[in-house]
């Protein structure tokens, strides 16, 4: 883990915190206003909104049962030539004679689930580790400082393992399943969240309002829980939006490596994309549909996250 990277991260985080200090009350409102003007934010929000809507309403939109091999006979008789789009199957059939459109619609829900759960695991555990370390380091005296140093060293070591490999090694321990994908992708994100949370907390801990609170005798535990922690979440939430995009892509990669959901029934874009690799030259559409869905969704979260980050970054803001 490079110190330069850590410093860069910390600087980024401090920039966020400074912005909040400078114009605390109106900052969020300003950011929202700025985002409403930004085409990046709008397109991101629209994509994410649509995706979530489909994920929720999926069962009501999908015309067929996504697991029923209704047209199985037709596919098998045709020797693996899968019919493309036609009136009764808008996106054609998959290799088992199931309706692709229904699978795509229902798949959105699983994909969202995988992404959200993985991100939540990383977010919650990372925020606890990083936040706890920062709190101990700042207010725990000498002993606390040592614990913080040890924890953060461990985080740095974990950061030295590429994220996909970390996920892969965890997945290898657990064996292929949907839970494996969510847990391994989530756990692999813990270090980065811990880093960000700690940096964000430290920036808050040295801000004037915290000094003021200490000087008037507010208990330290209360300062941490009621002020520093909630105020530090902003940049970490932005990071979470970006991680969601990564999580969806990495879940697909794990599926491709054979560590995803072994149950071919439940549709999930990553699994579908991985399965379709076998038919790529004959029926590329089977891969292209889920791939495009994944790319567009990941793009949506990325756009939204980047727009949020830009609107919070005082350095970028000054350039407007």
């Amino acid at each position: 883990m490079t110190t330069a990277k850590i410093e860069k991260l910390d600087r980024l985080i401090e920039a966020h915190a400074e912005a909040r200090d400078a114009r605390s009350g109106s900052l969020w409102r300003q950011s929202v206003r700025r985002m409403r003007r930004s085409p990046m934010a709008i397109s991101g929000a629209v994509i994410v909104g649509l995706f979530v809507l489909v994920a929720i309403l999926g069962p009501w939109i999908a015309p067929y049962d996504p697991t029923a091999q209704t047209w199985g006979r037709e596919v098998f008789l045709n020797r693996s030539i899968f019919p493309g789009p036609r009136p009764e199957n808008w996106l054609g059939l998959d290799h088992l004679g199931r309706d692709m459109f229904s699978r795509m619609i229902i798949g959105a829900r699983q994909t969202l689930l995988v992404g959200v759960v993985a991100t939540l695991i990383g977010f919650v555990a990372g925020a606890l580790v990083g936040g706890g370390a920062a709190a101990l380091g700042t207010f725990g005296g000498r002993w606390g400082e040592r614990v913080e140093a040890a924890v953060m060293r461990a985080v740095d070591v974990a950061l030295a393992i590429p994220m996909l490999l970390l996920a892969l090694s965890i997945a290898a321990l657990m064996g292929p399943s949907l839970t494996t994908v969510m847990v391994s992708v989530g756990v692999a994100q813990i270090p980065i969240f811990a880093r960000m949370m700690r940096g964000s907390m430290l920036a808050q801990a040295h801000s004037d309002y915290v000094l003021a609170a200490i000087s008037i005798g507010v208990p330290k535990s209360r300062i941490v829980v009621a002020h520093i922690f909630p105020n530090s979440l902003g940049p970490v939430i932005v990071q979470a939006t970006l991680v969601l995009a990564t999580a969806i892509i990495e879940a697909a990669a794990l599926s491709y490596l054979g560590l995803g959901n072994p149950d071919p029934g439940t549709p999930e874009w990553g699994t579908m994309l991985a399965d379709a690799q076998r038919f790529l030259s004959g029926a590329p559409q089977l891969a292209i549909y889920p791939a495009v869905a994944i790319i567009v969704t990941a793009l949506g979260f990325t756009l939204l996250g980047e727009a949020m980050r830009e609107s919070l970054d005082p350095r970028l803001r000054r350039q407007e």
Binding site: A4, R153, A160, Q277, L280, A291
Partner: protein, 335 residues
């Protein structure tokens, strides 16, 4: 500079120790314990007991860890379950292919990414800038294995412009020097080999470069935008220096600092991407090996791979950090 180097080296050893602990924990946590993963399926109970003894699994944990450490240092990583050969040998045989592929991808990412990012920044707000920014955003979101597979289908299979698999056409004689085939061909004067290896390298390298390229474009653009607004660039301008000097010495030398850091960090995603890309193109590098190991639950092979990748990542980033020290005099004196 010396103190800075020593400090970084100390940090490196701490990181490596931590890494070994992590790997040890991972190895201990494997389903059925490590001995299960290191024995053939038809092993007898006696074999098992013998192995447990020889692995020192009856010793206290810290003794086990020390022995684990010893074995790792001696590069004794156990034998691959699928091939039966020592993991270290398997990895060593395949490493050059992965290095060649990663280097090629990095050359593409840096060679195209930095000029493109620079142009996007200088032409901020134009269609070129828009295309570079949106292209890089999309580039980050494309699953690497899908991109690799599509490139293969389109350029190798449908258009038949480029070879689809392996590192060389079959039947081609070559001399092994460094293991990087393109380089070897150039060294030994076997230019047909170099050319053939180069053609085989194009598609995998392009696929693998997608994410690093996207990231390099974005960071270069942001960094250059930052720097061209700096006072010292205005000072350089006020000296009447030639535009090329301003661009090189004053803009790019400063803009390179964050770019170099990011390139170091990208190596991680590059290694991970190599696993996916190599398996698509049967490239025969470490990545293909690991893909196979994952399919077959070949844990010793996996562990060896993670070890090699993590160590090289840490070492490469040390090098990046040190080069950062060369680039930025402020780092050298900082405590």
């Amino acid at each position: 500079m010396l103190r800075y180097t020593v400090k970084r080296l100390l940090q490196l050893s701490v990181a490596l120790l931590g890494l070994s602990l992590l790997l040890f924990a991972w190895f201990k946590a494997l389903p059925g314990g490590p001995e299960n993963q290191m024995l053939p399926e038809n092993a007898t109970l006696d074999d098992r007991a013998a192995l447990r003894e020889s692995l020192g699994l009856n010793e206290p944990v810290w003794v086990q860890y020390l022995e684990f450490l010893q074995r790792v240092v001696r590069l004794d990583l156990g034998s691959s379950l699928s091939s039966g050969r020592p993991v270290a040998t398997e990895l060593a045989d395949r490493l050059p292919a992965t290095i060649e592929l990663s280097l090629a991808a990095m050359v593409i990412a840096v060679g195209i990414g930095i000029p493109l990012g620079y142009l996007a920044a200088r032409k901020r707000g134009t269609w070129l800038d828009f295309a570079a920014v949106s292209g890089s955003l999309i580039g980050i979101c494309i699953p690497v294995f899908f991109l690799a597979a599509m490139l293969k289908v389109v350029f190798a299979q449908e258009l038949a412009l480029l070879p689809s698999t392996f590192r060389l056409s079959s039947g081609l004689q070559y001399t092994d020097v460094t293991g990087l085939r393109v380089l070897d061909g150039l060294i030994t004067g076997e230019f047909n080999v170099a050319g053939d290896a180069f053609l085989h390298l194009i598609l995998p390298a392009v696929a693998l470069s997608s994410i690093p390229l996207a990231v390099v474009v974005r960071i270069t653009r942001a960094s250059v935008l930052d720097v061209i607004g700096e006072d010292y660039v205005r000072t350089a301008d006020s000296k009447g220096l030639k535009p090329a000097v301003i661009r090189g010495r004053h803009v790019m030398r400063n803009a390179m600092l964050p770019i170099v850091t990011v390139i170091g960090l990208l190596l991680g995603s590059l290694f991970a991407g190599a696993v996916l890309t190599e398996s698509v193109f049967s490239f025969g590098g470490v990545g293909s090996f690991v893909y196979q190991a994952t399919q077959e639950r070949d844990y010793p092979a996996l562990m060896g791979f993670i070890l090699v990748i993590a160590v090289s990542y840490v070492v490469l980033n040390l090098i990046v950090d040190l080069s950062y020290g060369l680039l930025d005099p402020r780092v050298r004196v900082r405590k």
